[in-house]
Structures are given as C-alpha cells and as structure tokens.
Symmetry: C2
C-alpha cells in the first residue's frame, strides 16, 4: 500500500522536480507556488478556512504525536497583541534522537527519487495550508498578513523546493551503478560492477528564528531531509507555531508514505532554556542550520564541531548612492525597502553612503540633506495612511527592537524620527515607522555594527570613491547580506560590482521599481554568499547541499 | 599574445575537459594519462631523459624563482640510500602570501573555462615529465619505480584532471548570466538581467605527505586552483622534490598564459619547523588540504577555523574473510595488497577478521591457522625472488615504520616475521617484507589502532557475524579508507555492504585478480568517503569542490 503511494508520488511530482532542477540551473524567473493570496488561485473559502484552522490551535496543546515528551511548553504572544496560549511537547533529548536515528536506515535506503517525491508532497501540502501558515507566521513574527502569506508561505515553499531540487541533483549527478572495464593489453580486461550509495550524515538540526520562522528554516530542513537525514526542528520560542504546523504536516506525509514519522520532529523549548546548544553539540547531531545573531552563529561554528554547520547571521547592508536618472523611483524604492516589515529583515539596508556634496539626479542636483530628506519624505508617503501603513510595517517583533530604536535616536542627527502608529484591527500591536539618522563617514564605530530593526543611517562621505572604500571595509569586516548602488555612471557601477565581488556580497543596481534589495527570488537570486562574515552558506547552491550526504561505494568483479 | 595563448589552450583542452566531466558522472573506466611507462607510449628517450632531469637537481638549489625567500632548506635522503642534497627556497610567510593575494583578482576574473584550460595544460606538462617525477617520487617516498610512475605520475595526473573537471562542472552548473522576467498580472512584468560570478575563497594551502607527495596533493591543489584560489604547497620535508617540480611547472604555465606565477608557490620548511601550522592558521589562508596523521588532521580541523579544511587521516582498513570459491586467487590478491609498497599505503588492509573455526573454500575447509598460513605463503611467493620483490616492496620510508614493525612483533603470535631483503641496485635501501601477527577478537585494543607500515593482523573471531560486529565497531569508531569482504554467500555480502553503508566505508567484494583493495581509480572509484573518522572528504565528489568558491551575483533592470 505504502509502496504504491510512494510510486504515485514519484510519478506525480517528477515534472515539478525536473522543472525545478532546470530552473535552478537557468536562473530565470520560475515559481511553483503562486504568491497571490487571491481566491481565484487558492479558492473562495481558503482564506476563511485558514484563519479558522489557525484559531483552532489557540489556547490548546498543539496536536502532534511524537515520542519522548517530558512536558509541555509554550509562551508565544502575537506581536499584534494576543497571547497564543498554544503548548508544545518538550522532548527528552536522548530518547527523541534515538527514535530519529532508528528512522534513518529505511529513509536512506529509499533513495533520492523517492525522498525527493515525499519531500515535494510535504511542500505541496504546506502550500495548501498557506493561509493557516500565514496567520501563524503573522502572529509570531509580526509580519503583516500578505507578507506572511508570501514570504512565509509561498516564497518559503519555493525555497524548500529549490533545496529539494539541489539535493536531488547532487545525489544523482553520478550514476547509481556503473560497469568498469579496464584494458590490460593482450590479457583479458579487468571487469567490475560498482554501486554508489548516497548516505546521509546523521541527524540534522534546524534552529529557527523569530522573524522568518519558515523562510529561513525550510532550505536547511528540506536540504537535509531529501539527502536522507532525519531533521529535528528547534523553533525560536516566540515563533513555534509555523514550524509546529510544518513538522506535523511532514510527519503526516511521511507516515502516509510508509516511513517513520520521526524523520521530522519538533523540539520546542521554554524561553531561555538553551535547548539549541544541547542539541547542536549532541554527538548524534551531524548537521546544524542556524539563522540568528552573529554572536550565537559564530559560537555554533566554533563549538558544534561534530556537525556541519550552516549559518546565516547579521551584517551591515549597504547602499552606495552616487547619482540617479530616476530620483522619484529611487526614493520610492528605498523607502519601501525600509518600511517593509519595519526594517526587521536581515536584508534591509542600513547604511546609505551619500557624498556630502550631494548627487546628480534627473531632478537636478540634490544636496546631502536633500537626499536624506527625500528618503524621509518617501517613507512618510508610504506610512501616512495608518490603515495602509500597517499592512506594510506589520508589528515590532520584540522588545529588543524597541530598545535598539531608542538607543539609535541618540547616535546622530535624527533626520526622521520613528513614529508610533495605531493598528486599526489590533490596538495592542506595537507599530513603528523607520528611524533615519544622519552620520558622518568618521562615525564608523556606529554604522559598522548591525542595528537590527527600523534603523538606518544616511552617512556623509567625501566622495563616491570614499563610499566605495567604506563599503569594502565595513562589509569585508562585518559582512552583509545585501548591497545596492545607485549611479548613472557605468564606471561607478563597475567599481561597485568589483567591490561587491571582492568583499563577497550580492549587488543590486539602480532599483527603482517593483524589485527591492531586501527580496531574493528562489531559483534565480542566491540569498547570501557565504563569502563574507554575515553567513557561511548561500540559499541555495551546490555547497549548501553537497556536504549533507556522502557516497559509499561497493565493487565486485563481474 | 597571452590572450591568444590562453584561447588556444581553451580550444585544445576542451575535448579532454568535456570527456573528463562526462566520465566523472558515468563512473566507468576512463583515463587521460597512460599508466604504462613503455617507450611505445612515452617515447624511446623518455626514461633516460627523465632520469637525467632528476639527477640534474641533485646537490643543488632547486631552480625556482619565487618572491620573499629568506633562506634555503633541504634535507631529503632517498629511502633507497643517497642524500638528495637539493635545497629549496624558504618563504617569509607574510610577504609570500601578500604576493599570492595580489595574483588572485586576474585569475578570478579569467573565469572557469580559462582556468580549467590552464590547469589542464599544467597537468599535461606534468604528464610529459612523468619519468622525471617518478624518479623524484621514488627517491623521496621509497616507492619502487613503476609504482612511482603510475601512482605518483599518471594516476595522480588523472586525479588532478578529475578535480579540475569537478571544479569546472560545479562553477558552470548555473548560467553565468540570466534574464529574469516576473509577471505582474495586468501590469508590465518586472525585468532584470543578472550576472553570477564564481569567486574563490582566498589562498589555499596544500600540506603534502611523505608517502604519496603527488597523488594525495594534486586533487586539493587543482580543485583549489581551478576554482580561482592561489595555492601554496607545503611539502613534507622528506618529500619536497616531486612537489617542487610540480610548482615549477605550474608557475611556468601560468606565466606563459599571462597570469602571475605566484598563483602557485612552494613553501619548503626545515624538518621539524612546523611551517604547516603557521600557514594553516594564517588569516589569509582560507582552504587547507591535508594528508597525514589523524592527530594532526584532527588538530587542523579544530584549529584552522578561518579555513575550510579537507583532511585524509588514518584508519583501520579491514577485511572480513567468510568463505571463497577461489582460495588461490584470494590469497594471491591479499598478499599483493600487503606487499605493494611494503604496506605503506593509507589503503593497505590491516585487520583480517577470520572465524576461529575456519572457512569454506573451493579447496576444502581451511582452519584459521591455514588461512593465516595461506596468506603468509602467498606473501613468501611474491617476495621470494629478491630482485623481483624489491620492485613491489620499494623501500621503508622512514624510521617510524621500522619502530612500529619492531613493536608489532610483540603484539601477538607472529605468523610471518618481517624479513629484511637486500636491494640489488641500492645496497643502503631498507627493504622489509610484511609482518603477519595472529590475534584474538578480544585483543581489540591492539587492532583498533592503526599500525602504519607492513603490519597486518589475522584476527580469530567467533563467527562471521562477530567479524561484522567488529568491523562496524572498529571502523565506525576509528575509521577506515578501505574495506573488503570474501564470501560465497550472498547474504554475507549483503550484510557486509549494509555494514559498510552504516559505517561509511567503501567496500570491495571477493577481489581475486588484478584489482586490489588498496587501489582506487580516478573517475570511477571514490577514495575515502568523508563518512567515517579516517577522512572528512572524498576524492572526488561535489562536496570536495563546492565549498572552494562562492557565487556573487549582481542584478539590474533591463
């Protein structure tokens, strides 16, 4: 029964898998999961059902059946106000990992094609529950609803599929078996058959973050799972629900497909418990995927020595402003990138390097102050209508962001203070607009560090040449996930690209429309590079998947 | 001029590159460099010219021009007797690495195709100097001449080409640029062009070993170089010459192709100086490839934290003997694998697990003692004629091997003592035949460790089931580079393969002819797995190359 189900899955998902593998190589636009939360795409009842499903979780133990539970934990509060009141099973670690190890051999032996099909089925089911997930993401991350649906739902699903495609391609780049015949001159040739088994490393740990519980977790989760590793998911204690739903869906599909559901387990923790450290340094954990602070990411890289560790940490995302032939487009694009999710993205620009003598634009010369004011006004325009603003800004995810905001106001000359807005639907939500602070090039000790949240600096430099020097130095030393440049001069664009290549950061040039520096598209844009201190891996390239399994061969004479 | 040269190289080597990429995927037999040292292949004068070229190095400073030399070092003595008397430039490390860093951008910007062509040209030139290299390898490693020519010459060249092919394939698996058009419903689509630059990590260090100075160094060296990293080669102080020739050839080709020769540099050291540690922990060194002891390999993995570290260390290579339908073939094959280079290969079998009640064979039942004696006699047969024996045994590489041999004689019941032979051509060569010691399964503390050299144990077990248990436990805990099994029973072969998959070691079944467990063929066999403690990488798979570079993208609207 399970056999036929799995064969069906392999057949059903083969076209998607093949298309995904091809798309990843070609890197044009491709998406498997429509990003529009429209009833025309997802059905007339999908939105209401998703909300209902979300609400059904509230105030109860989360419905998941997994072994070795020694208690129930949960303290999530929506950044939009209400407590969620959901509790989750807390694992007895050694027993949980033992159950997961026991699940490994059958999954390993099922082979790449079957694993890829089962993984895609999981993602497909998650896609069908995108509204439910969007509500869960909104009320744990503070993202506005549409962003939760897109970034946390469909874009995360595309990133999951991308990781599956890379893992599958990597496991199947070699023949599974081969005939080898070596000539021996006049003697008979030597003849052998050889078999090549991809074998997983062991148990994989995914450590989720507060702001993007699914988008940042899915690539590692599915890259590990498709390559044969059981995956234990340790969510951020303030963003458990989206990953609990994910794990529950995964367990359901695994069990239906005849596999041990313990190939995917949830490891929820009490806030401040430190379960990530216990798991990440456990001798049975062989892979760790982490998104979060540089401090803890660096600690993991140093101390989780028994595991392959993939980290996404923090950096100083930088924009070099030299000149533009679309002043309004540039300002609107920059403002949107600052307003989106209140700047609480690891990809939000922080440092705007602007010549103190101003810049040339299609609207005439603009002084440094006019550039700063222009960004400020563009932000005002996006946030002036409170009801519309909250659908971009979302809510502040936690007190740490507010503390940094308060601190940042004293770091320089405030160009635009952060305003507090009232959310029409959620009066308890903390909604803040971006803070813009003017600095001078010499204030490097301030702007060389990350100030996570709706905090950006407009930094006066002697020239674009100095801007590029600062860009090289700060990103080279402290890392960045994104960079962008505005210039009408091709030599400046080239110099910026040279600098981006030297310091290893992805560069966007002259964004002035509907593409924003903080967004990266699965199958086309690599998220992060692994080439600067902000992360040691990219989503997704060969290096992200190749180390998650090994090839064990056997050979015998024919 | 350099431009046209490089274009010529690209054209000339494209067929080889494409064939190598295809061969690596298909994994049948393929080789670019003929292994036969026959005059028909390499020319009537090649052998004499190679010997002459080797002899011309002796007693002089090695002819290599590289910057930042602060002295000359060299203390090589041939395991066959004579001192080499060659001296090599000793680098001032910071200045040498600075010169190498300066060479990086042009090499990076040349792109994958050009780099692959230049790398293949280097390997082709090394191939043409295979006799010269064979003499250098023979007189530093102690390998007999034909093995030096094949393993150190042509097989190493094939492994180099394999690494180049993997690196090239990995860098070109994505489009170099792409057009991206995202539909926006009724609005105009978003349109961008994107460029994807493969960028190297930085300076790569290759730490060579005494026994296989080229075979074990070339994969890392060429994998790093083709992916854009300058490579500094730190040879073992007793096996410098083969790598000095390699670096000199590389520098010559790089310079002729219009690149900075400092993309390949030699870092020779005085014996005991510890230069590897200085280099491996230097902030500019971003990749380390190491072959040698588990102790130092593990130290590098722990301490060279700024670098990606690839290690091949030591393990307990194991043979499970259950039964055979080719008693003579089995014994002959095993004996050859022990005699070859006096067991001084990281792939030589050490532990033979044999049921104490004996085994079934096509020559009737054989007791445990008869199995041990059978191997012993087969070794005698291969080593009885001194003049022929030395062409298999070569010479003992260093005093450490002799010390271990003396120690091992006291570890159990000696089945076959190690004999001392006299080399007809090199009276000062230390030539020893394999030692065979009988142990019991309970002597695990003895056989669970590696005893590098011509030292093997025939271990009496309760049954093949216990043999497989011991195999799992010792290889799982201490690692192995090779394993093999002899059985006429399919369930035993399957159980051995299951065990090999579980503990992550390559398995050879019933070898009884011209393929030996200690040999792995480029493009078909993976050497090592990275899945057990004997090494953290395999030669060569995607994981070996994917982490040596990163992808940095730029994007702009059309």
């Amino acid at each position: 029964m399970a056999q036929s189900t799995v064969a069906d899955l392999v057949e059903r998902h083969r076209p998607t898998l093949e298309a995904a593998v091809a798309a990843a190589a070609q890197r044009g636009y491709w998406s498997a999961y429509p990003e529009s939360p429209s009833p025309k795409v997802y059905g007339e009842t999908a939105a209401a059902e998703g909300l209902e499903a979300y609400q059904a979780y509230l105030g109860k133990p989360f419905p998941i059946d997994q072994p070795s539970t020694d208690g129930w934990v949960g303290s999530e509060r929506s950044p939009f106000g209400p407590k969620l009141g959901v509790t989750y099973p807390h694992p007895e670690v050694d027993a949980l990992l033992a159950a997961m190890k026991a699940a490994l051999p059958a999954w390993r032996d099922a082979g790449p094609e079957t694993r890829a099909a089962v993984c895609i089925e999981i993602v497909d089911r998650l896609n069908k529950r995108s509204f439910e997930l969007a509500n869960a993401i909104m009320h744990t991350s503070g993202q506005a609803f549409v962003m939760s649906f897109q970034a946390g739902g469909t874009h995360a699903q595309d990133r999951a599929l991308e990781a599956i495609a890379y893992g599958y391609a990597e496991m199947t780049r070699h023949a599974g078996s081969a005939y080898w015949e070596k000539p021996q001159g006049k003697r008979d040739p030597l003849k052998m058959t050889k078999t090549f088994h991809p074998v997983p490393r062991g148990i994989a740990l995914v450590i989720g973050c507060n702001t993007f519980p699914t988008w940042n977790s899915y690539p590692g989760l599915f890259a590990s799972l498709v390559t044969g590793n059981p995956v234990v998911v340790k969510p951020h204690p303030r963003a458990v629900l989206p990953l609990a739903i994910t794990v529950a869906v995964g367990r359901e599909v695994l069990a239906e497909s005849g596999f041990d559901p313990n190939l995917m387990c949830l490891a929820a923790e009490a806030d401040g418990e430190g379960l990530a450290t216990v798991l990440a340094t456990h001798h049975d954990v062989k892979i760790v995927d982490f998104t979060g602070s540089s401090q803890y990411g660096n600690w993991l890289e140093q101390h989780a020595r028994q595991a392959q560790v993939y980290t996404e940490k923090a950096g100083v995302n930088t924009v070099v402003v030299d000149s533009t032939d679309d002043w309004r487009g540039m300002l609107g694009n920059i403002a949107f990138s600052l307003v989106l999710y209140s700047g609480q993205m690891c990809t939000t620009p922080q440092n705007f390097l602007v010549p103190r003598d101003g810049i040339q634009t299609d609207d005439g010369h603009k002084s440094f102050d006019e550039v700063a004011a222009g960004i400020s006004v563009a932000v005002d325009n996006l946030t002036g209508d409170e009801a519309r603003a909250v659908e971009l800004l979302g809510a502040i995810v936690n007190q740490g962001v507010l503390d940094r905001l308060a601190h940042a106001e004293g770091l320089g000359s405030v160009v635009r203070p952060s305003a507090t807005l009232t959310h029409p639907s959620f009066p308890d939500a903390v909604v803040r607009t971006p803070l813009l602070v003017a600095l001078d090039a010499k204030d490097e000790e301030v702007y060389a560090g990350e100030h996570f949240g709706p905090i950006s600096f407009v930094i006066a430099t002697d020239s674009t040449e100095q801007s590029l020097e600062i860009f090289r130095r700060t990103v080279g030393t402290h890392g960045a996930l994104t960079a962008s440049v505005y210039s009408t001069r091709e030599p400046v664009l080239e110099a910026a690209e040279d600098a981006a290549i030297d310091v290893g950061v992805a560069l966007s040039c002259n964004l002035n429309g509907g593409v924003f520096v903080n967004q990266s598209a699965a199958f086309s844009d690599f998220h992060g590079t692994g080439a600067n201190p902000a992360c040691n891996a990219a989503l997704t390239d060969g290096a992200f998947v190749a180390g998650r399994f090994r090839i064990v061969q056997s050979r015998r004479h024919v």
